[in-house]
Amino acid sequence: MSEIRILSATGMLGSGFREETLRRAMALKPDFIGVDSGSTDPGPHYLGSSDTHFSDSAYKRDLRLMLIAARAANIPAIVGSACTAGNDDQLARLVGIARDIAREDKLKFKLAVIHSEQDKDYLKKKLREGRIKPLANAPRLDEAVIDRSAHIVGMCGIEPYIEALQNGAEVIIAGRSSDTSIFAAMPVMRGFNPATVWHAAKILECGAACVVLRKYPDCMFATVTNDSFVVEPPNPEYRCDPVSIASHNLYENSTPYELIEPSGVLNTFAAKYEAVSDRAVKVSGSTFRPAERYTVKLEGAELAGYQSIIVGSVRDPIILRQLDSWLEGMNKAIGDRILAVFGADVAAKYQYEVRVFGKNATMGPLESETAVGHEVGLLFQVTAPTQELATAIMKSVGHMAVHYPVPEWTGLITSIAFPYSPAEIARGPSYRFNLNHVVEPASPLEMFRIEYENV
């Protein structure tokens, strides 16, 4: 076979694509449809809690159109990183949605479900064997970190997808996966040059993100041969040029030249980007260096505590002129009040902070510009082991803060505007990413259980 045609439905399942674009793309006769359904972008909440970044309705809308198109053309549909973080709860949720679609639209297919959630005993054994290694800026890892994680997932490579395809899967829904593996698995299985394939996969995984001006999420299409690929948006309103395609390597990557995958490293240093029309780009010249040792990246989230917050603002110029010292005094008074109410034991249990919008609330420790304008916003935040304690502490914080004095005014002042009643808002559980590590499994399939089902 001299070429393989790949349709990427959109950058993230649930973000949407145009039905008309999908129809145009299907007319180009793709060999499969892929879509990424995950991201760590929105933070640790999704891995920790199993909540999803989009609604079931949004996932269902996109997945329905994809499955109907794929079954009509008799080509595989591949979804990776189910429902944001790809843990087992989220995987089950997306599989449930796929079953509902099949029933409602009378579709039949062989489904492969790839599990990415990791067994804690397996990971602890790997840790003891020295087969878990830290990546850059990794937090400390010991068995206690594994034990207290709410969920830990491994990022699967192409091998579980290839296994599923070779076993006749027509639809694959995977837990956490490298974004590119969704698109690279079938071309590599068919024997195409991995360098070309991985580079094409990197361009495709974000859907229409690689166009010159992306006005809304949509499909993307690539035709891959052994030594080059051509990417062309199926939406006639969109166009790619060599710079838009080359620029995509910058996105969410610490270097535009390297992409690290479980089975090796794509290097785009020598890549050539050539316009083949005013909207299509041909890419060639990347290299792929197979890894000496196969590695699977881990993602973990643990409960950091429960939070209560208060949002308020200050307009009084007298207070604003002495904002730092006013807050410093207030914070000390708040600390004393919390000790008085909850006892000395409370000190080790809670964390308190106040952020100043209008000063450094966006950049925190990175901010060097700290002048304030005619008003500031304040965000009070308490984190504690239970919601009850976080809320109880915040009730005292709010009362201390709202009447905290300045020397210039005599009598009781009300120094903060609260937009809400009650002022305090329960944020619920707050999670923390706690792993930036890779595991060396005995085989690429060892960490990823695959189930098959005739839907």
């Binding site: 760590t40 640790p44 080359a246 390597n249 910058l250 996105y251 980007y273 950049m363």
Partner: protein, 106 residues
């Protein structure tokens, strides 16, 4: 001239939950080469603007897209309880008005 006047995009974003990455993408190749060769965006300047040690700042020139990429460790893990910007999307402010005085308005 200010940096924003000669670029088509200045952005910041997480590169995973443990790193922040900044992209400065220029409008044209010639301007990119001038700024690249003048080393206006260098480790020392960036470290000072962001209150960091210079050795943690990585800067990569990317000729294929006329872009300069800067990557630093995140001061706080994305979404941790004292994080200020979960996506890392609003950390590029200090780059926007950086003076590139040797570039004259056309």
């Amino acid at each position: 001239m200010k940096l924003w006047q000669v670029t088509k995009l200045i952005r910041s974003k997480n590169s995973g939950p443990f790193e922040l990455t900044f992209d400065v993408i220029f409008k044209d190749r010639a301007t990119y080469e001038k700024v690249r060769d003048a080393k206006t965006i260098n480790q020392q300047w960036f470290a000072k603007a962001y209150r960091l040690a210079p050795e943690v700042v990585s800067i990569i020139n990317y000729d294929a897209a006329s872009a300069i990429k800067i990557t630093i460790p995140r001061p706080v893990i994305s979404g941790d309880i004292n994080d200020t910007d979960v996506f890392g999307g609003q950390q590029y402010g200090p780059l926007v008005d950086l003076d590139v005085l040797y570039l004259k308005a056309e």
